[in-house]
Amino acid sequence: MDWGGKDKVSTRDGFGKALLELGETNKDVVVLSADLTESVRAHWFKEKFPERFISHGVAEQDMIGAAAGMALSGKVPFACTFGAFASGRAWDQVRISVAYMDLNVNIAGTHGGISVGADGATHQSLEEVTLMRVLPNMTVVVPGDAEEAFLATKQAAEMPHPVYLRLGREAAPMFKNNPGFTIGKASVMVPGDDLTIVVCGHMVLKAMAAAEELAKKNISARVINLHTPKPIDKETLIKAATETGAVLTVEEHAVAGGMGSAVAEVLVENRPVPMKLMGMKGKFGVSGEPDKLYEFFHLTERYIVEEAEKLIARK
């Protein structure tokens, strides 16, 4: 995808551009939106394909059910709203009407994480990975940049199973070198031997910057972009734990049940090594500018470096 030379694009934009392209290539793609059409970046699709766009009102539970009905009738629906409502308000609908029936319903939850900023805790969803990955048949993707979001959206449409896409609000830096993106296959962003940093979403580039800092201290950190917390790429994780002997996870999400927990579940059974889980711990978000919030919740490059050094000492 051509991003017009921009170096910062939000993952929700990546999603919206993919919808537009899917509209052209797949006549079965339909988009449902719960009164947040521009916020979730469904407005481009809506303008171009009004007959395949369903304005659903502020009725998330009904929207998920209707998406299930459309999938049962052969459509490829994308149901879009903020992550807090897609995964929380409509959880039982996702559980029974979508996951249990194993339908090709794609759920796009934008405004994931503290980087939502000023809107505060109600809108900064921190629980989607936990809530969605516990459901059988569900795939959970947390794209790291707009290009990944674009590719994830297109790949999700092709999968005859439910997919949850966790998307961000803020314009975020694009990866310089994208090693390729396939749902379910973790990307090794930086090679390294002394420890592994497993990361997803907006935290990927922060972890890569931390790895550069660590290199200056002669610590070689491997950075794995685990953009698909479910189904989880066990092989890449076990290999990394075996080769580096310590694993740090970093996410803009609750650590309870989140991506880091998913990694821990794999490693504790297969290759236990010292671990540290960074993320949101037992707290709601607060209002503020995204960068100040990352600092406030200790989710910046500096803290990643600190925790990496402490972790290595435990090896």
Binding site: A59, M63, A66, G69, K75, D92, I96
Partner: protein
């Protein structure tokens, strides 16, 4: 009894009301036997929906047991999934799956799950978490309209089920999109689990509510085939909005000691109770044979 439908929906319909009544008795018999063999399940709410579902399946719907997912079929959405014994009895009778499977209800390895699961031929949705069927029906009606399919979608809910907020979201959506292919039915048996609906959560006037949501509302005796026929005829003639048939029913209908008993919501007849029930059904059948 008809066994097969052909490609052009030339279903051998049961038009004769006495024949429909006989069918209802047979379906009650199978429903009760399944429940007894399973040892658990929802008796009251399965018996109250028999006539509604019999009329739809044996007289109204275009369905194909050789191709259950045929794109242009009509769809019956059992939103009150706990009434699935009645659905299973009908689907087996219509040869969607072998009749012997009825007696595996709720057993390990059975396709007849305690609440319906997609995958059993003829079952349109997995249900059991109340309040979700109408939304799914809305999605189906929207999709079929996009594809220019001339289908009808029937969604059966319980009156207690309409306590769920999601039902009213779907009510709004269906009216907003003028989904005339959608026909809801409320099995108004006036009981839910904790007691009488008016005491557990008084719904007020069902008809006025749905009317104010811009649905075409029809009230009928849910055990009277003639009234049900008229209701579904009237509904089919409405072209600008969804229709809601408020079917007044008796929970546990047909078996004297089960009728109108809150306690019979979620239990199955024991062997001796089944025999007593069968004796009552035999009498009803004799009366029809005249």
């Amino acid at each position: 009894m008809f066994k097969r439908f052909n490609e052009r929906w030339e279903v051998k319909k049961i038009t004769d009301i006495t024949e429909l009544k006989k069918k209802a008795i047979d379906l009650r018999r199978d429903t009760l036997k399944m429940l007894t063999k399973a040892g658990s399940g929802h008796t009251g709410g399965s018996l109250s929906v028999i006539e509604i579902m019999a009329l739809l399946y044996y007289q109204r719907m275009n369905i194909d047991n050789r191709d259950p997912r045929r794109k242009d079929r009509d769809k019956f959405i059992l939103s009150k999934g706990h009434a699935c014994p009645a659905l299973y009895a009908i689907l087996a009778d219509l040869d969607f799956f072998p009749r012997e499977e009825l007696w595996t209800l709720r057993k390990l390895g059975s396709r007849l799950q305690g609440h319906p699961q997609l995958g059993l031929p003829g079952v349109e949705i997995s249900s059991g978490s109340l309040g979700q069927g109408l939304s799914i029906s809305v999605g189906m009606a929207l999709a079929d309209r996009m594809d220019d399919l001339n289908t009808r979608i029937y969604c059966l809910m319980g009156d207690g089920e309409t306590n769920e907020g999601q039902v009213w979201e779907a009510a709004m959506t269906a009216a907003h999109y003028k989904l005339a292919s959608l026909c809801g039915i409320i099995d108004c048996n006036k009981l839910q689990i904790d007691g009488r609906c008016c005491e557990v959560m008084n719904p007020g006037a069902h008809a006025k509510k749905w009317e104010s949501f811009r649905w075409h509302v029809i009230e009928a005796d849910g055990h009277d085939f003639k009234e049900l026929q008229n209701a579904f005829d009237e509904a089919a003639a409405v072209l600008d909005r969804p229709q809601m048939i408020i079917a007044h029913t008796v929970k546990g209908k047909g078996i004297s000691f089960i009728e109108n008993q809150v306690a019979w919501h979620g239990i199955a007849p024991k062997k001796d109770e089944l025999n007593k029930a069968f004796a009552e059904l035999d009498k009803q059948r004799k009366a029809l044979d005249g």
